[in-house]
Symmetry: C2
Subunit: 332 residues, 2 copies
DNA sequence: TTGAAAGCGGTACCAA
DNA sequence: TTGGTACCGCTTTCAA
């Protein structure tokens, strides 16, 4: 910047103003500066600018696992919307490890991101207090934290559970099992939806039909597989299963087919997440669509609003409406 | 930092030195400073540090599409390795758009990343000249650029094409088609491998059996679908197809099954990339494994070596050895 | 072992 | 409309 100023015999301040479209600059001077900027292919140092203004124009995103299509889509939505507004994105994966997530949060705080978007794997609010203490706005996505009142965007998971379970009931299933997750708010909600749907129709949800397993990363398929194996040993066998996620469902289907049973005739399956390849699977998988990309876009929008509004408003909560996509795995 | 210094009656310089483990600091002073840092939960501002040292400890990664599992895995590898070394990662998706990619590169340069890792969709070396002009080291992954001598890590794509095609030949296929890509170095290499394998066995590769299509993003499945439809109209029909990627193969398989034909009896299929769900597909898909995660780790390693070695060495090139994973789609 | 001063590359404020 | 000056938070150099 100084070079440009010197070359043109103006001050650095003038150059700076031109760069930011400050209005009180002579049009002639402006042209000359612009000209030289082009020539030198000059770009202002964002770090220096950040230091001076206190705004990095950087948003941090932390997800449990980028390999999971749900989070990849979410990321895409966030990314798209953010860049449209001139913000950069730092992404970190916590690998489903709370300790790792804490470190990543600290890293991002140290880099002074303007805001954070987090799909948290943590069980306590501790880290989030740290974020608040720094007055950095943040939005939780997908997963809520118990006892933490924060901005949140996710799926209406109770509804997701209800949709899936009612669909199975409508298709004639009478012994509906659930393979779900542990610790996660999403898992608890989907389970609640499952229970509610069964209760509403006068069926019960016997404990032996409910499997709650911690599913780490890509191990989800294996988890679904083993849980389903266990379910198939029960008497009577379930005739329908609502799975917490599509990877879980994929594993479950594998276990069923290996036993020589048919989907959906012997056991119908419904997953959640509606991955892109759902229809290409061995048996096309019925699933609850969560619109993860939209979720990402909303999160980006919300977080930027927070950044741009000085006033600290009440935490907002937003739930996207899930939709059932019926395919062969439940086509009775 | 100043606060800490003031509180303790020492200078900011002293605090700074403690932070960086500078050796000439009295152990007593060091303790006091460390103590206060803990109390205040103080973290140095990385941006300020970057400004002063000229190193941001940030690496930029640009991929065409995060939704594509190949790039998601690559990203995971990069991320893991980078953070292990205390580097942060900025990720951007170019959405397979060269113009977009240029902008992202400029953004990253403006943020003064220490290095770049790029899976480029560009057709010219222009942007890369800009990077070199800034003396920022970079590594190209997966895709090479014609006429650009740069550090590169990718698959041995010629070998990948050969492996897949020879596999089909061994399985007894005699009319082997290829659905490939356009513009990409990977596509050209896999095609070359396909041709070489056919030639080596005395078969020819008739033009009508070779479909080269631009595949944008998630449209890959649709591309594979339509290309396969066209192939099935030929007389005689191909009895084996090597597809550029697994999504392409997924689409192709869909077209075959819809026609009432059998895989692999009527047409055998081999894909490339070995996505995680390959074995769960309607017909488990044979594919060439590319070890994308390892590729990411190598890229991270290489780029950090470049950052840490002042000397500008000759561009290095590294090719990972692909491996065929045979499944039902080619089990004749 | 400690610290004063200068500077990294910009921006903000206010005076000219 | 322009520019001088101070400062953002940290590091580096060099003298005490």
């Amino acid at each position: 910047m100084k070079d440009i100023a010197r070359d043109l015999g103006v001050s650095a301040v003038t150059v700076s103003k031109v760069l930011r479209n400050h209005r009180d600059i002579g049009s002639e001077t402006r042209e000359r500066v612009l000209q030289r900027i082009k020539e030198l292919n000059y770009q202002p140092n964002q770090n220096a600018r950040a230091l001076a203004t206190g705004k990095t124009h950087l948003v941090g995103l932390i997800v449990p696992d980028l390999l999971h299509q749900f989070f990849a889509q979410l990321t895409k939505g966030v990314s798209r919307n953010l860049r449209k507004q001139g913000y950069g994105l730092i992404i970190a994966s916590s690998e489903e490890d709370p300790e790792f997530e804490k470190q990543e949060i600290d890293q991002m705080l140290a880099r002074h991101v303007d805001a954070l978007i987090i799909a948290s794997t943590q069980k306590t609010a501790q880290s989030f207090k740290r974020i608040s203490a720094r007055h950095i706005p943040y939005v939780l996505v997908d997963r809520k934290l118990e006892g933490l009142s924060a901005n949140f965007i996710g799926t209406d998971d109770v509804k997701a559970g209800t949709l899936a379970t009612e669909h199975l009931i409508e298709k004639g299933c009478r012994r509906i099992a659930h393979i779900g997750g542990d610790y996660l708010s999403t898992a608890a909600d989907r389970l609640a939806g499952y229970r509610a749907a069964l209760a509403a129709h006068g069926f019960d949800a016997p404990k032996k039909y409910i499997f709650l397993r911690t599913q780490l990363d890509d191990a989800a398929v294996a988890t679904g597989y083993s849980a389903m194996q266990a379910l198939l040993k029960l008497q009577p066998k379930p005739d329908g299963v609502f799975c917490f996620s599509d990877p879980i469902a994929t594993g479950a289907m594998q276990a069923i087919l290996e036993k020589g049973l048919c989907i959906p005739e012997d056991v119908a399956i419904v997953g959640c997440g509606n991955v892109l390849y759902a229809s290409a699977l061995r048996v096309p998988l019925s699933s609850v669509n969560q619109e993860s990309e939209t979720m990402g876009e909303c999160a980006a929008k919300m977080v930027l609003e927070l950044v741009n509004s000085r006033a600290k408003t009440e935490p907002r909560e937003m739930r996207l409406r899930p939709e059932l996509v019926a395919r062969a795995s439940s086509d009775l």
